[in-house]
Each structure stands twice: as C-alpha cells, then as structure tokens.
C-alpha cells in the first residue's frame, strides 16, 4: 500500500485492480479520515495496491488505505513489518472483517511482527502467537498509536480454554431406545473413522442416531480446533468472545443444496462449503437419494483425500474437508419396506431400481451400512435403554489411540498395501472371505472394506490380530443381499 499526494487535480485514485467493493473504500476512507479530525489531502492522491496483477476484493483494506493516506499527509511512516486489516465506518470506527484468523496466521508465517486488527476480532487474531496484535477501535486511535501519541495496549494471547469435562452434548446415546445394531455401527464408525449409511423407514431415528455421533468422538485437539476456527472465520461465523470450540462440527445440509453450497464456490474467490464446515466433524446427508447426482459425485474426491480444490475467476483455493459422512436413506421408494406395521407398496423392480440408484462410487466409500427399524410409540417403553455416550466414547478413544500408535492414522484411511502390512488375516478369516467371495461375489473394494472394518472391530476389542469373528461382523454391515 503506497500513498502519494502530489500535483494534479484533486482526485482520489486507487490503482491495483481493485474490485468495486474496494473502490467504495474511497468514500469510507475519505469520511473516516475527516471525521477522525485528520487531514485529507487536497491535491491528487494516488493509492497503489500492490501487487498490481492480483485482484483485490476485501473491504478489510479500508484501514490500511486510510492509514497510508493519513501517514502520507503527516510525512510519517508506520513501523516496519506491520500489517493493517479492518473495515471503516464513515465515522472512523474500525469494523469486523471475515477471516482475520486466517489472515493473521498467514502474516505471521510471512514474517510480520505486528498486526492491527479490528478490536472485535482481536481475540481471534490473538490465537496466533508470534506477533503483536493491536486491537483497533477507531482510525484516530490507530494513527495516535503509530505516531507515538497514545499507545494502545496489545491484545494478550488468547488462552485456548479447554473445558476439562466435555460439555454436555446435545444428543446422548442414552436417548436412543433399542437399535443395538445401529448403535454398534455408530461406535465402529467413530472408532475407525468409517463412513456410515443408515437405512430405514421415516421416523426410525436415523437423524437422532447421526446427531449422537459427535458426542462419541474425541474432542478436537488444539490443532484441529484452530483449523475449524479458521474455516468459521472465513465465513464470518466465529463468535467474538469464544473463537475456539471443542465439540466437533455437525452439518446437515438439505438435499436441495447446490454444488457450491456443499463443496464450496461462489463468485470471485471460492467460499468454503458444507464439507469444509464439517471438517473434523460429521456431515449428515439425510435422504441421500434426493440429492442431485452431480453434487454427490463431487464428494468422491474430498472423501478420498480430505480436501477440496476449487477454481473460480478469482483464483484457485484449497479448503480442508476431512469429515465423517453419515448418510440416511429409505429402504425403498415408499419408505416402508421391512416395517412391522405399515406395508410397502413397492414392487421388487422398483426397490431394485431405487437401490441401484444409490449404489456406485459414493456408496463404495461407505464402509458400514446398517438397517434402522422403527419402534412404534407404544413399544418404546419396553425397549431397553442403552448405554449413554460416555462409556461408548471411552471405548472409541481407546480404539483410536491404538490405531494412532500402530499406524499414525485411522483404519478407514488405510490403503490396501498398508492393510496387508498392518493387519494380517489369520487362516480362518481368509477362508471366510473366500467363501463369501465364492457365494456372493466380492469386489476388491468390498474385500478391503470388510478388512478395514474388521481391523476396527478388533481394535475395539483390544486385540492385535484379526480373527474370523471380526471379519464376520464386518461382512454383516451391508444392506440387502448385494455383493459386499
């Protein structure tokens, strides 16, 4: 940012590919400076936003422009290695900017020593250590600080307050009656990082089960919490007082969601989508069959590599997107196949076609598929109350620790080669898989799917070797009589 007031007609010119939002900065800057009792140049003023070929988009450039202008009139300069970020109101108040956390993190990596941010975003910025954070309330205050007249106290580093006892989760497994198979599948999914498909009629409790998943996952560690905060920061979603959250995100986009909404996108520079909002958490897709096919297709890559690259006119951006997918579906078009009370009106051909629509590359990446049955209201009272989330979470944590110690990642992420190295199968297990392949056909994907889940089942039990019973359980996690 460079300001030069010199000879020529009175004009305020911004050069450097400024988008309209930035061009509007001229009015805000002019007003803010005047209302801060600072002098605005009477002659021609040119502000250069470098580098020239990069398109500038943020309204957060108000503050740096105003500071550059004000200092240029005073023939003063700011300290070297200082950065400025903030929007200006007409009266000179410094306002919030999205993405401060991300910007400050990057500035520190670039070697900046001091950053001036809006006061309301200071706590967020102070999560980054290694540079001085100056909270700015007004333009006048900033200038006064720079010229040494009135100093602003730097923001103390924001201590990540770890809530020792995990906060009471909104949805506890104790609220789920019966559903032992689905609860077990949820535990296996949590323990190994596997994706899960729940199939059942309306009202069976699929959504409720999905919402219990964050509660049985370990709380975020500091690095993960910071990543989640960064994404929320970019979306302007970070509460001012508490920038760090320790519960895993749970996102449940409606099936009408657009490609940009789910994956990320939008005009200019791409914004993070639901999958990034679900980073380190759970993405719940209810009524999977209703989602647009092309939108579901786009999930394949992030499911595979845990991030998504989006290119727009403003440039290319990569957002993290490592989440656990929980999908819910009806067993057939009318939804009632297999229900005890309501009869299904679908022909076998309709059911077949419906299930075939669901199959494919996306379902191939879902390791666990389980049926959820509806418990009629009058029978609810006699359904046993199961474990609460706490003991399940303990088991999940132990299993995850075992995986990290053994292989540095979760079982769901194991590629075939590593599976072979880390999870040898005993003879009985191998034999079982061969018999299964013979009788029903088993694709290579299905084979490795069963293997990964068996590895998690063994980890939950605490055993090192995979036994036949683990493989048998793993093969059971499928819907209907299709090749595993």
């Amino acid at each position: 940012m460079q300001a030069d007031d010199g000879r020529g007609e009175a004009a305020f010119v911004l050069v450097g590919l400024a988008a309209t939002a930035v061009k509007e900065a001229r009015e805000r800057v002019r007003s803010a400076i005047r209302n801060s009792m600072l002098e605005f140049p009477h002659r021609r003023l040119t502000v250069n936003l470098a580098p020239a070929e990069l398109r500038k988009q943020s309204s957060g450039l108000d503050l740096p422009i105003a500071v550059a202008v004000a200092l240029s009139v005073m023939r003063r300069a700011a300290q070297p290695r200082s950065a400025f970020l903030g929007e200006l109101a007409l009266d000179g108040t410094v306002g919030h900017v999205d993405g401060v956390l991300v910007a400050v993190g990057w500035l520190r990596r670039q070697g900046y020593e001091r950053v001036f941010v809006p006061a309301v975003d200071a706590a967020e910025a102070a999560l980054v250590d290694g540079l001085e954070v100056i909270p700015c309330a007004t333009l006048a205050g900033v200038v006064a600080h720079i010229i040494g007249a009135v100093a602003i106290a730097p923001q103390p580093p924001t201590a990540p307050m770890f809530e020792g006892e995990a906060a009471a989760f909104e949805h506890d497994l104790a609220e789920v009656h019966g559903q032992e198979e689905a609860r077990r599948a949820l535990e296996v999914a949590a323990a190994g990082g596997h994706h899960l498909l729940l199939s059942g009629p309306p009202g069976a409790g699929k959504t409720m089960l999905a919402r219990c998943l964050p509660g049985i996952l370990p709380p975020l560690d500091l690095e993960e919490a910071l990543e989640v905060a960064q994404i929320r920061s970019l979306l302007g979603d970070l509460p001012a007082g508490r920038p760090l959250e320790w519960t895993r995100p749970f996102r449940a986009p409606h099936h009408g969601v657009s490609m940009a909404g789910l994956i990320g996108g939008g005009a200019g520079l791409a914004q993070p989508g639901e999958i990034s909002r679900a980073h380190h958490g759970v993405l719940f897709l209810d009524e999977l069959a209703e989602f647009q096919a092309n939108v579901l297709q786009a999930l394949r890559q992030p499911l595979e590599i845990g991030r998504v690259a989006i290119t727009r006119s403003g440039g290319s951006v990569t957002y993290p997107a490592r989440f656990t997918l929980v999908a819910a579906t009806n067993p057939c078009p009318c939804g009632w196949a297999g229900d005890g009370r309501r009869s299904c009106r679908c022909t076998p051909a309709m059911i077949d076609a419906y299930q075939r629509r669901l199959s494919g590359p996306l379902l191939d990446r879902i390791d666990l598929k389980v049926g959820v049955r509806r418990v009629p209201l009058d029978a609810l009272a006699s359904e046993p109350v199961g474990e609460s989330s706490a003991p399940v979470r303990e088991r999940v944590l132990s299993a995850r620790r075992r995986q990290m110690e053994r292989q540095g990642c979760l079982n769901a992420q194991l590629k075939p080669l590593r599976l072979r190295q880390l999870a040898s199968l005993d003879t009985a297990s191998r034999h079982t898989l061969e018999r299964w392949a013979e009788q029903r056909g088993l694709t290579a994907r299905g084979f490795h799917r069963a293997w990964r889940v068996a590895r998690t089942s063994a980890d939950l039990e605490g055993t090192d070797t995979i036994a036949e019973r683990h493989i048998l359980e793993a093969l059971g996690y499928r819907l209907h009589d299709v090749a595993a």
Binding site: G178, E181, R184, P348, R373, H470, L472
Partner: protein, 259 residues
C-alpha cells in the same frame, strides 16, 4: 389350477408353494401361475420338479420374459411340455396395468385358485377376486398370525375360502379321485423341507416366517450385538439363514429325497 402369492414371500411360503405344486403335478394336475418373482416362480419350479406340466400366464407379449431373471425358467417350462400364454400382442412390455388383466386370465383358465402368501393389497388378491367373479374355487394357505404376509390369505379364509394344508385339500376340491396323498400329520418330513440341525444354536431362535433383526436376537439372548451379527453372517454362509428386508429369516433347506 393356479398358485399365486406374494413376490417377496417368506421361506415358508416359498416352500409351501413349491411342494404343493410338485405334489399336484405328480397327481397330473396342470399348475398355472404368472412367472413372477416369489410364489409364482416357486410354483413353476415345484411343478417341474414333480415332472409335470405348468403354464405361465404373462403380463407381456409371449416374446418377452419378465422378469428377465426368469428366462431360464421360461425355457424349462417349455422344454417340459408346458406353455407360455399371453393375451397381449408380441412386443408388449410389462406395464403396471397389464397385470390385473393377466390375473383375470389366470383365474379364467383355472378351476381352482390357491393363494399361498399375500400381504394387504397384494396382486394375488386380485386373482382371487377374479376367481370369485368367474365362479371358480378360491383357497388359501394359512400362515403366522404375526406375519404381514398372511393378512391377505387369512382374510380370504375368513371370507370362506377353502383352507389348504397340503395338495390333498386341493385335489378334493378339484373332485379328482385316485392316489391318496400325504397324511397331514406326516407332512413336515415328507415335504422334504426338514429343518436341518445347524452348527450354531442361535438359529433355533429365528423364524422361517418372520424376519428378526440382529438387535432382536441380541436382546433375546442377552448377547452383544457385534457377536450376534458375526454369528448370523456365518449362518448366512452356511445357507441356514437369509437376509429378508430389515432382518434375518431362517432358510428352509431340503432334507433327504422322498422315498
């Protein structure tokens, strides 16, 4: 006579349809059905096993086999001296509205219609209704009072349809003399569908009529569901148990051949 029923029957229903058809075929009765999934296919197969003649009444042109999975069955029906018949011109594709018409035709060419398993709203009940209108005999096989698949058949019985416990009941109504067939008391063994002793006792807790979920069994036996799931999968490999919609159902397997 016609044997009709659900396209997604229980193993019990399939076994009854197949054995009934086999016994009737041996008694030289022509078995008519619709070549559909489930009871129809079991009836045709049973008739073929019994060395008899079976007729498939189609909801398509005779040149199209629907469902495609039954192409082989259709060929076998023809090689055994049976017939594929249709009121629809060649090239007619399977359309929803063809099937009620086909059901009427089945009733029309039969003297007796036996419904083996039918849920509420099943197409087999249309065939039964057609039979009544055409003054044919309607009979039904009873099932479990807990099974949704017997709601239709029990309704027919309630309305006065004849009860079928074995082929002899049908033969009596057809007014045929001749060979005395199975005494109902001995039927289970002579049916050839003896329940095999299985390697895992858990199978005794499953039903051949009603599907149970792994959760149901785990709760009943107070076992961890992960163990139950594994054991049920092993039984699937052995063929002792089948997946049926949302649960597991005991498969009925053939015992020794009848003497």
């Amino acid at each position: 006579m016609a044997i009709v029923g659900s396209r997604r029957p229980s193993p019990y229903g399939e076994a009854v349809a197949e054995q009934l058809a086999a016994d009737l075929a041996r008694a030289k009765v022509i078995v008519v059905s619709g070549l559909a999934l489930g009871i129809d296919a079991a009836a045709h197969r049973g008739a073929l096993n019994g060395g008899g003649v079976t007729v498939a009444v189609m909801g398509t042109g005779v040149d199209i086999v629907y469902p495609a999975a039954h192409s082989r069955l259709a060929e076998e029906i023809l090689s055994a001296g049976g017939a594929l018949v249709s009121q629809f011109p060649d090239g007619t594709v399977p359309r929803r509205q063809n099937f009620p018409a086909r059901n009427w035709t089945m009733a029309a060419i039969s003297d007796v219609v036996v419904v083996v398993e039918a849920g509420e709203g099943s197409g087999a009940l249309i065939t039964a209704e057609a039979a009544l209108h055409l003054h044919k005999e309607v009979m039904a096989v009873p099932g479990s009072v807990f099974s949704a698949l017997s709601v239709g058949t029990h309704g027919l019985l309630r309305d006065g349809a004849g009860l079928v416990q074995n082929a002899r009941d049908v033969i009596a109504v057809l007014g045929l003399g001749g060979e005395v067939l199975d005494d109902p008391l001995q039927a289970p063994e002579r049916l050839g569908f003896a329940l095999q002793p299985e390697r895992d006792g858990i199978v005794a807790h499953l039903s051949d009529v009603l599907a149970m979920s792994a959760a149901d069994i785990a709760r009943k036996l107070q076992l961890p569901v992960s163990e139950v799931l594994g054991r049920l999968t092993a039984l699937e490999l052995d063929g002792a148990v089948r997946r049926h919609e949302a649960g597991y159902i005991r498969a009925l397997r053939r015992g020794k051949e009848r003497a």
